[in-house]
């Protein structure tokens, strides 16, 4: 009944680093909006939920999920630390660049605690039950970080205070995560083959389907594919489908003019290479049935470190089109 899985797992040797950014713009709605507006005015507000005063305010009763009447109350600005944890080595994601405490802070007049940071010179100044007050930023946007930090004491540190501004209805939040993706042995082999001007694949020993060289297994038979399964592929094929992409200038997009990506069914074998670039073909000339052959990078292009790989794309061979109407079904 039980198999102990005794295969060892190899550790990573080569990685590629990439950072994904999520530039969000969020609408704040009828409760968080007024709270953020109050922050911009260097005030805190809370909302009544039954007998409790909740800060930061929510649109719904956390116990019953009933929508709360918009019954706001002023709270703070001073409050009490309920619990805390000391960050001795802050990282880039943290709001302060020197040691600080994250804390749950119950603002005066509130029954629940706000999560924020406490700025003190040393951990010796931190204790549960200590009194703190906000130090406001000079430039406030209606954002939770309009409070730069809480500091010990009863008095808020205000800056350019007190002028009511426009209601805050939106907030920006730029999230970012950096990944180090391992490069598999099969990916390295695929890259080496293209450097030699070879197009290679991996053939499943069970179903005999052929896959791209960088794939690690056959998804139909769930069989691992290794060097033993490498096969040489013909370097000619036919376009079975395509798309014309009109670039939208989102962050990271480097293309400016419409361009095509095509599906290429390789000659003699049953392999479709997806989303391939076409070389020197105007977008209005791209069509299903077009005969194409591989274009490899020149020595000068290979020397350009900015290029992604040695397979530049596919170029028409000039042969007559393949007119088989069923070609269009072969997109993968």
């Amino acid at each position: 009944m039980r198999t102990s899985h005794e295969r060892g797992i190899a550790e990573v040797t080569i990685t590629v680093e990439s950072t994904i950014k999520f530039p969000y713009k969020r609408s704040l709605g009828p409760v968080i909006g007024p709270f953020m507006t109050a922050l911009a005015e260097q005030r805190f507000i809370a909302i009544r939920s039954g007998s409790r005063v909740i800060c930061p305010p929510l649109e719904w009763d956390p116990e019953t999920a009933a929508e709360l009447p918009r019954d706001f109350v002023d709270v703070g600005p001073a409050g009490t630390v309920c619990t805390w944890s000391w960050v001795s080595r802050p990282t880039e994601q943290h709001p302060l660049d020197r040691p600080f405490a994250f804390a749950l802070i119950k603002l005066d007049g509130a029954d629940t605690a706000l999560t924020h940071v406490v700025d003190v010179e040393s951990i010796d100044q931190m204790s549960t039950g200590m009194r703190v007050a906000p130090r406001w930023r000079a430039e406030r946007l209606g954002h939770i970080t309009d409070v730069e930090a809480f500091v010990p004491g009863e008095e808020a540190i205000t800056v350019n205070g007190g002028v009511p501004g426009e209601p805050v209805t939106m907030m920006s939040y730029d999230a970012s995560i950096t990944y180090k993706i391992p490069v598999s042995d099969n990916t390295i082999k695929a890259h080496e083959a293209t450097a030699q001007g070879r197009l290679v694949g991996l053939k499943c020993p069970v179903c005999e389907r052929i896959y791209a060289r960088d794939r690690g297994f056959c998804p139909i038979d769930t069989v691992e594919l290794t060097d033993d399964h490498e096969v040489e592929l013909p370097q000619r094929g036919v376009v079975t489908s395509y798309t014309i992409i009109t670039p939208v200038q989102y962050p990271g997009q480097t293309e400016t003019e419409p361009f095509s990506r095509v599906m290429v069914l390789i000659d003699e074998i049953d392999v479709v290479m997806m989303y391939q670039p076409l070389v020197d073909v105007p977008v209005e000339d791209v069509r299903i049935g077009m005969r194409v052959a591989v274009v490899w990078a020149s020595e000068a292009e290979k020397a350009d470190a900015g290029r992604p790989g040695n397979l530049v794309g596919w170029m028409p061979t000039g042969e007559p089109d393949n007119t088989d109407p069923s070609l269009a079904n072969r997109i993968m």
Binding site: I32, S85, H94, T115, I144
Partner: protein, 357 residues
């Protein structure tokens, strides 16, 4: 009506497999899954074509691959087409969905799996993104800092001491010595652990789980099919999950009301348990969870070492269920409870109660 009252007692775990947990696995997530799913199928003594429903649990944010969960499905061999689903959650929730699906009564066998590679990214950076995007995420609140806040609250409430945390760690690592899939194990002296520097006071580095990559798979079967496949199936007597408010400042983080409720709804009546596997990601959480479930001092908690010995996020909860089930199937236990968690500071909790015949 509670889940354990509606005939659910007729479903059992009949086979499973898990990979080792390692710090930095070279294989992709799906490559980790391929042999694990194959081994679970072999362990259950079935053919892939016997599986009536498949459910997977994973999180695309971990490896940063858009639709990575679709690739993971290839480990199940999705051709000819299969009936399947995915949860953006730990594999324990995938198992919950597959268990619900089996209760429809029209299929006999289901597969659930969970997988996660935390190594390509920094968990502190990734898990800040699961937090409320208005009040919490912009502060860069990381899970270890949150756990520190919870630990301090536990100390202030008089419910635990730093020595209690270190004792949990020493127990975990000692237990993990007999678990070939664990990452951290060995004999550690509590006083020596307490002499280590703080990482996020009041937590030390050993109070925090390792970063882990791993995969796990489980095969469930109904009634006679389960008896046919397995000499001693691990019968699922009940399974339930409950959730609390997201904001840590809104709830009592020194207790876990949702765990208490899930354990009761899963059918745990306070009786004796031979083994308990808890997703106590940080050492103070083991104390909170034991209190929430109502476990006495003599209970065998985390004989596998638990998450402090290996924490493959998105697999770690289902591994708890597998570790509990394995001891029923091999005859060393007759009644076991397993727990999985999700969200910041035990926000959501799942409890699974397992029994032999």
């Amino acid at each position: 009506m509670a889940a354990n009252d509606r005939g659910a007692t007729d479903i059992a775990i009949v086979g499973f497999a898990q990979s080792q947990s390692v710090r930095d696995a070279a294989p992709s997530e799906v490559q980790l899954l391929v042999p694990v799913v194959a081994d679970a199928i072999t362990a259950a003594g079935i053919e892939r074509s016997d599986i009536g429903f498949t459910c997977a649990g994973s999180c695309d944010y971990l490896t940063g691959g858009p639709f990575a969960f679709v690739s993971n499905l290839e480990a199940a061999g999705a051709w000819p087409p299969i009936s399947e689903s995915h949860v953006e959650a730990d594999g324990a929730w995938a198992m919950y969905e597959a268990w619900m699906r089996l209760q429809e009564g029209d299929i006999d066998v289901a597969l659930a799996f969970g997988s996660g590679k935390s190594s390509p990214s920094n968990p502190a950076e990734v898990w800040a993104q699961q937090l409320d995007p208005y009040y919490l995420a912009p502060l860069g609140v990381d899970p270890v800092s949150l756990a520190g806040i919870q630990a301090q609250a536990l100390i202030d409430a008089g419910k635990a001491t730093e020595r209690d945390f270190a004792t949990v760690v020493a127990d975990s690592r000692r237990n993990a010595k007999s678990n070939p899939n664990a990452q951290l194990s060995g004999d550690y002296d509590v006083d020596a652990l307490l002499a280590e520097p703080y990482y996020r006071r009041p937590l030390r580095k050993h109070d925090v789980p390792p970063i882990s990559d791993a995969a796990v798979a489980v095969i469930m079967a109904r009634g006679d099919k389960a008896r046919e496949l397995c000499e001693r199936p691990a019968w699922i007597r009940g399974m339930d999950h409950r959730i609390e408010a997201h904001q840590p400042g809104l709830r009592d983080i020194t207790s876990s009301a949702s765990t208490t409720l899930a354990a009761r709804k899963a059918g745990y009546d306070g009786g004796p348990l031979d083994v308990v596997e808890l997703s106590s990601t940080f050492s103070p959480q083991e104390i909170i969870l034991k209190n929430a479930i109502g476990l006495g001092a003599g209970v065998n908690v985390n004989p596998s070492g638990g998450p402090l010995a290996a924490n493959p996020i998105m697999a770690v909860g289902l591994i708890r269920i597998v570790e509990a089930a394995s001891r029923i199937i091999d005859g060393t236990a007759n009644r076991a409870l397993a727990h999985a968690t999700s969200g910041p500071l035990l926000q959501q909790n799942l409890v699974c109660l397992l029994e032999g015949e």
